[in-house]
């Protein structure tokens, strides 16, 4: 068992996500920065679907009651194990009574803590990812408890990974969305020449962008949307859907973020700058 002594701002459990129920309106959910989270699972030799802890902005204080191995990565946050600083993408052995404590956020927005064999929160429709009200909780509260399998001895194939940080990356690669053709020359120029900043309204469902581009008056019928879909509202506001985003929408879907771009954006917060770069599709 792991005791969450202090939970931090918004700490959840996430795995690769919920698949097969988009046609019933169930969002994919899962870790926002899949790039960092899956690296950590790999480092621990975990299955691809092992659940990790997603830490947002300010992190938790965690008391481990059984031996295991952990590693963390993603946003740059100062973290200690029994008051000694620990590094990212490095496997640490945990013994009973160890305390991991998150400190100050330096760069990025979401950090991941992976544990040997993953956290064992309840499976709901094929996934352990928190998504309220499908799961009982939207995020972990103070004093909540998490189940994991004790692991006494594990010989890591590699104990450390060198990961190129993308926390400073500002360019998001995008492919065309189904309504891309509706954009006029002015809108195209604005989209690809401008810098955008993350607006106040940003969370696991969607990131809104501060700057608008020229609006439109196209009306379309509700149709599927995906994590990474960029919609344009009639007033020219851009909304980037993320992992908990709704599965259908009625605004033109002009662009679609690459998988890596979703991870890059997931590490951005209010006021951070981004720009878009169009990449060719595989034909």
């Amino acid at each position: 068992m792991l005791k969450v002594l202090k939970s931090g701002f918004f700490t959840t459990i996430q795995d690769a996500g919920r698949f097969g129920y988009l046609n019933k309106g169930v969002p994919v959910a899962g870790y926002m920065d899949s790039f960092s989270a899956s690296k950590l699972n790999k480092l621990l030799d975990n299955k691809i679907e092992a659940a990790v802890m997603e830490i947002t902005m300010t992190g938790p204080t965690l008391l481990f009651e059984e031996p295991t191995y952990v590693c963390l990565g993603g946003a740059d946050i100062s973290v200690t194990l029994n008051n000694n600083p620990i590094e990212q993408y490095r496997v640490y052995k945990i013994i009973k009574g160890d305390i991991i404590s998150y400190g100050r956020l330096k760069k990025g927005f979401r950090n991941y803590l992976a544990i040997k064999n993953g956290f064992k929160t309840p499976m709901v429709i094929g996934s352990r990812s928190f998504y309220y009200p499908l799961t009982d909780k939207s995020h972990l509260g103070d004093q909540s408890e998490l189940v994991y399998e004790a692991c006494e001895n594990y010989n890591a194939k590699i104990s450390e990974l060198k990961v190129d940080s993308f926390l400073d990356e500002k360019i998001l690669h995008v492919a065309i969305g189904p309504e891309f053709e509706l954009l006029n020359d002015r809108q195209l120029e604005q989209l690809f020449a401008k810098n955008f900043t993350v607006a106040k309204d940003y969370n696991r469902m969607a990131y809104q962008l501060e700057q608008t581009i020229e609006g439109h008056s196209h009306s379309m019928l509700t149709s599927a949307t995906l994590p990474g879909t960029i919609q344009i509202t009639p007033s020219g506001k851009l909304i980037v859907l993320m992992k908990d985003g709704q599965t259908t929408g009625g605004y033109p879907r002009i662009l679609q973020l690459s998988d890596k771009a979703i991870s890059i954006l997931a590490q951005k917060k209010y006021g951070d700058t981004i720009s878009f770069k169009l990449v060719r599709l595989n034909t």
Binding site: F19, G20, Y21, L22, N23, K24, G25, V26, P27, V124, I125, P133, L134, T135, A175, I176, G177, P178, E181, M220, L221, T222, S223, A224, L226, G228, T229, Q246, T247, T248, G249, R253, Q256, L257, S258, D259, L281, N282, T283
Partner: protein, 245 residues
Amino acid sequence: MSKFSISIRPFGVHAILVEWPNKVDEVILNDILRFSNFLETSCLDINKWEIVPAYNSITLILRQEPIQFDRLIKRLKQWYGECGDSKPKQKYLWKLPVCYDLDFGIDLEEVAEKLSLNIKEVVKQHTENVYTVFGIGFLPGFMYLGGLPKSLEIARRATPRLKVQKGAVGLAGKQTGIYPQESPGGWNIIGNCSVPMFNPKSDNPCFVSVGDKVQFFAIERAEYDLHKIEGEVGIYKLEKTKWDA
């Protein structure tokens, strides 16, 4: 059977959109359902693909790898040509119990007044009609229902409520529907459905599929409370009938 001119376009790297003419039309929906069933049963590996039909489109998502668009577009056109005689999935008519008491139908009096009807007439018209599920989305288990009679069309509320109850049945524009969970919302609330539209603990968490039919029937408060108890212990049985049309 009628064939439509369909448009097939990339939707990022992992998805492709197949789109029919921009109309809310049951003939189009049936064509979509026939094609999506054909894709599911005869063309695509459903362990790899997700198929999302809604109104006038099907979105196909291949999560694990990038799509080879030229090849897929060619094959989709060919498959669409071949699916003409294939059967769509069996559709069902679901009878959903709604309590229109004023405790639940918090906007019912206002709605009746605005539509120049009395409450009884609103309930009668709302329950007489059979609705078509044109899409499921927005929230898990939220149905986009088509077929609302013109006489019940009413603008959404000027200011949305921060909290609308789970099960709330609402009217907005050309739409009627059920909030499957507590959520903010701007629809006019006229009742509450006693059956959960989404049950995450069930193997089949959402019994309704796109293309199915829905009809509401009015129940008294006592019956509503009974359904709730039956629902909790899992013995409430919904009425469904095969719908062939």
